[in-house]
């Protein structure tokens, strides 16, 4: 079991970050805001679900809107079966943008429910346990 916590110095950008236990670790895909914004809603959700179903943790800089998260839950339910039990999703809550009109999403982390469990969450901190077995 390995505790995961977002550090303030985490680098921005897209890439694959391997855990320290390379052979038994969890693959983590950290996707940059540019990449997230370049994808359409369905493309984004498909990308996430494919990643998570493969056992990876997907971290989206910029995050998903509440509507996208709801759609993701819906898509996930279509794919739940005996081997894939669903997703664990956590994110910093959106902040109000200019003149309170636009909601600005910040970061969303999604992982397979069988491997990831959020243990604590508040508006600026997410603590999760990720099982490597």
């Amino acid at each position: 079991m390995k505790k995961w916590q977002r550090s303030s110095g985490e680098e921005e950008g897209e890439g694959k970050v391997k855990g320290s236990e390379a052979s038994t670790g969890i693959e983590m895909n950290v996707v940059s805001r540019d990449k997230v914004e370049s994808m359409g809603s369905m493309e984004k959700l498909r990308f996430i679900l494919d990643g998570v179903k493969s056992g990876n943790i997907v971290v989206l800089e910029g995050g998903l809107t509440a509507e996208e998260q709801m759609k993701l839950i819906e898509l996930t339910m279509l794919e739940v079966d005996e081997s894939f039990t669903g997703i664990e999703i956590s994110g910093y809550p959106a902040k109000r943008g200019l003149l309170n009109l636009r909601r600005k999403t910040r970061l969303t982390i999604i992982g397979p429910a069988a491997k990831m469990k959020t243990i604590r969450k508040d508006k600026d901190l997410i603590s999760a346990i990720i099982s490597t077995t």
């Binding site: 809107t65 509440a66 509507e67 998260q69 709801m70 839950i73 819906e74 996930t76 339910m77 279509l78 739940v80 005996e82 039990t85 669903g86 997703i87 664990e88 999703i89 956590s90 994110g91 809550p93 959106a94 909601r103 429910a113 069988a114 959020t118 969450k121 508040d122």
Partner: protein, 245 residues
């Protein structure tokens, strides 16, 4: 002479019915009861029906097993009439004070009236594992069937959001309210401009902390209730009449 009195009475009755139909009849507001599994959604729906429709009518079955409600259940034409409720309750109270322990009439004497279609929805979840049902003693086949139905129930509950005029988001006040499911439901309601009331349920339990829910969602009205015991339900009904009108 007697005929004319009877005729006048009948005409007055017909006229009052006509006026009521023309000016006071309102379209029912469709209210969805949403929340995570085991928050007490069906218990709340049953409580509303028992209070305003029929004490012997149930909307659904509530058990301790999660995802007991796996299909959306709708009950049309529920009239939330607080003035009548208070009058009836006071009458009952005078008749037999001990029988009406659940109800505490508010001194403010609300006149709120609201016609509702109550929609009880399956619990929203991001994961459903049939093995969790086996922990409640279900056979493997039954657990798998229930898990499959539960996933369909979640999808149906989400689809219903398009047809809902208002949401009561029910949370268990003994649990951490700051879950992503709760955040997502609130975010969606805000984005759609659908009014929402958060009901902090299970306040009858010793470890209930409704204040934690208030702290987590300070931008929304939180009403602490016990749907099972009926505690503080009048405040929720008044809030519903105010917010969903």
């Amino acid at each position: 002479m007697e005929m004319s009195v009877r005729k006048r009475k009948r005409m007055r009755w017909a006229l009052s019915k006509l006026i009521t139909a023309l000016f006071f009849r309102k379209k029912a507001v469709k209210i969805g009861i949403y929340g995570p599994p085991n928050a007490g959604k069906t218990t709340l729906a049953n409580r509303i029906i028992h209070t305003f429709v029929d004490n012997n009518e149930d909307m659904g079955v509530a058990t301790e097993i999660p995802h007991e409600t796996r299909r959306v259940i709708k009950r049309e034409g529920v009239l939330i009439d607080l003035r009548r409720r208070i009058m009836n309750s006071n009458r009952d109270r005078n008749r037999d004070r001990d029988r009406d322990r659940d109800y505490d009439p508010r001194p403010r004497g609300s006149r709120a009236k609201l016609m509702l279609d109550v929609v009880d929805t399956p619990g929203l979840a991001t994961k459903i594992d049939f093995r969790d049902f086996m922990a409640y003693g279900l056979e493997e086949d039954e657990a798998k069937r229930r898990a499959k139905e539960a996933t369909e129930g979640v999808i149906e509950a989400i689809k219903w959001l398009d047809d809902i005029d208002g949401v009561i988001l029910l949370m268990d006040s003994t649990e951490d309210p700051y879950t992503q499911t709760n955040v997502v439901i609130i975010g969606n309601m805000e984005a759609r401009g659908i009014p929402i009331i958060i009901a902090a349920n299970k306040i009858d339990l010793p470890d209930a902390t409704p204040q934690r829910i208030k702290n987590a969602f300070p931008q929304h009205r939180v009403v602490p209730v016990s749907a099972l015991k009926g505690d503080n339900m009048e405040e929720l009904y008044e809030e519903m009449a105010k917010v969903f009108r």
